[in-house]
């Protein structure tokens, strides 16, 4: 039975099944959009925190670290209450749209990227602090240098965020609604197809997810080697 399922799943992949690739396409669009938004905000912010030395710095880092472990379903529920018709952002009318899914994934990975960026820049700053101060650089120049010096580590951070977002199911299920041809992504499709017994498509999507995970791991490994 397992061999039959795998055979069908591979066939779906090899024959470029329309449904399968529509789901993969939307998944990548949602996750990459969320990643670009989260990284654009979080990397400068995480780096800025290293220089923003007051009582709020450690508080913000603590919050970011705490939110790293936030269950996606809780986040999904929170966004749902905010963007549903009766919510304070209900007027945006984004519930059950890819926009809401992007918002959920962005909020899910933002604390992760902030926290990991802070760690990386903090370590680098300790290493280069004397040199950069000796060169009499202002904070902006220091920040640019440190981000450049951490470039490979920060790519690893971004990939970690991508991995977390692409594997997430709870939040996008709640705010996206898993609507066929509109908000159905790989993880929600796997859950849905399995529940209705259509295991072949679920396995095919699972294999693609595993492949993405393998690619991310290999990329992170090679980036760590370079850095």
């Amino acid at each position: 039975m397992l061999i039959n399922i795998l055979e069908t799943a591979f066939n779906l992949i090899i024959t470029l099944n329309d449904d399968l690739f529509e789901i993969i396409n939307l998944s990548l669009k949602v996750t990459l959009s969320a990643l670009i938004i989260a990284v654009s905000i979080s990397i400068p912010f995480g780096a800025f925190l290293v220089f923003y030395k007051n009582k709020f710095q450690s508080f913000i880092v603590l919050i970011a670290n705490t939110l790293m472990g936030m269950p996606p379903v809780v986040l999904g529920l929170l966004i749902y209450t905010l963007v549903s018709k009766k919510g304070i952002f209900g007027f945006l009318d984004i519930l059950y749209t890819p926009t809401a899914m992007i918002l959920a994934q962005t909020l899910l990975i933002t604390p992760i990227v902030i926290s990991l960026t802070y760690e990386e820049i903090y370590k680098k700053n300790k290493e280069y602090d004397l040199l950069l101060n000796s060169l009499n650089l202002n904070n902006f120049s220091k920040l640019k240098t440190l981000i450049y010096e951490c470039r490979y580590a920060l790519l690893t951070v971004a990939l970690t965020g991508f991995g977390r977002a692409s594997a997430e199911v709870g939040a996008v299920m709640i705010v996206g609604g898993n609507i066929n041809h509109f908000t159905r992504v790989m993880t929600t499709a796997i859950a849905f197809e399995t529940s209705r017994g259509s295991i072949e498509l679920a396995v095919a999507l699972g294999l693609i997810l595993l492949l993405i995970s393998l690619l991310i791991t290999l990329l992170i490994k090679s980036l760590r080697k370079i850095s």
């Binding site: 280069y128 060169l135 240098t145 850095s227």
Partner: protein
């Protein structure tokens, strides 16, 4: 811009109620290679960092001519005991400092590379360099922009005799060309070889400040005698 003499008035520095430097008063003239000596924990590196402005002290405590340290920081550079180099090639490390010091002169980096004879390592990433090579690159970075003062925190303490000799020659050459050098060292033979003036610290206090010849002729307390005999 005349930044000499350097005057230190009543310099005190503490961290968490630990006194690092206490009641330091001294005046240093130009064109001498000044050694800052003393046992571990005597405050040598802290004094260098204060003079370079890496540690802030009240503005009138350290005066360079008519200027405060922050006013003349552009005329200073520092070489650290463990060289701090960016994760780039030697050339790119030098180009980075050149850019940050707003030097637009063409082939400036090449000139520095030639001056310190480091062409062979110019395309190698700094993380693959040996300790001696790293220190040479750090010194090359420190002379970019022709600073009037260079602080060197035990620049040869981790080097073998061949590199030590090469780096000492560079330091003496810089000093002979009018660059004021402040160098911390534990190595008494090195102090004898290259020093012109010595500041001796013990537990944060200045206990001797004069020329090197006099230092080795004068009678001292046991602490300094031990330092001279076993350093």
């Amino acid at each position: 811009m005349n930044i000499f003499p350097l005057k230190i008035n009543n310099l005190n520095y503490s961290v968490n109620e630990n006194t690092i430097l206490k009641d330091i008063h001294l005046t240093c003239e130009k064109n001498t290679l000044t050694i800052i000596a003393g046992n571990n924990g005597s405050g040598k590196s802290t004094l260098l960092k204060i003079l370079h402005g890496l540690i802030k002290v009240p503005i009138n405590t350290v005066r360079w001519g008519d200027y405060s340290t922050s006013n003349i920081k552009i005329n200073q550079s520092m070489v650290f005991q463990t060289p701090i180099l960016l994760n780039r090639t030697t050339y790119d490390n030098l180009a980075y400092v050149t850019k940050k010091k707003n030097i637009t002169e063409k082939f400036y980096v090449e000139k520095i590379i030639e001056k310190l004879n480091i062409k062979i390592i110019s395309d190698i990433n700094a993380k693959y360099l040996s300790g001696g090579e790293r220190q040479k690159v750090a010194i090359a970075m420190s002379i970019i922009g022709s600073p009037k003062v260079i602080f060197m925190d035990e620049p040869t303490s981790q080097l073998d005799p061949a590199y030590k000799n090469e780096i000492e020659n560079i330091i003496v050459d810089l000093s002979n060309n009018g660059v004021k050098i402040f160098l911390t060292s534990h190595d008494i033979s090195q102090i004898r070889r290259i020093g012109k003036e010595i500041i001796f610290l013990d537990k944060g206090k200045l206990i001797y400040h004069d020329c090197i010849e006099k230092f080795f002729k004068d009678k001292h307390c046991d602490l300094v005698n031990n330092y001279i005999n076993y350093g």
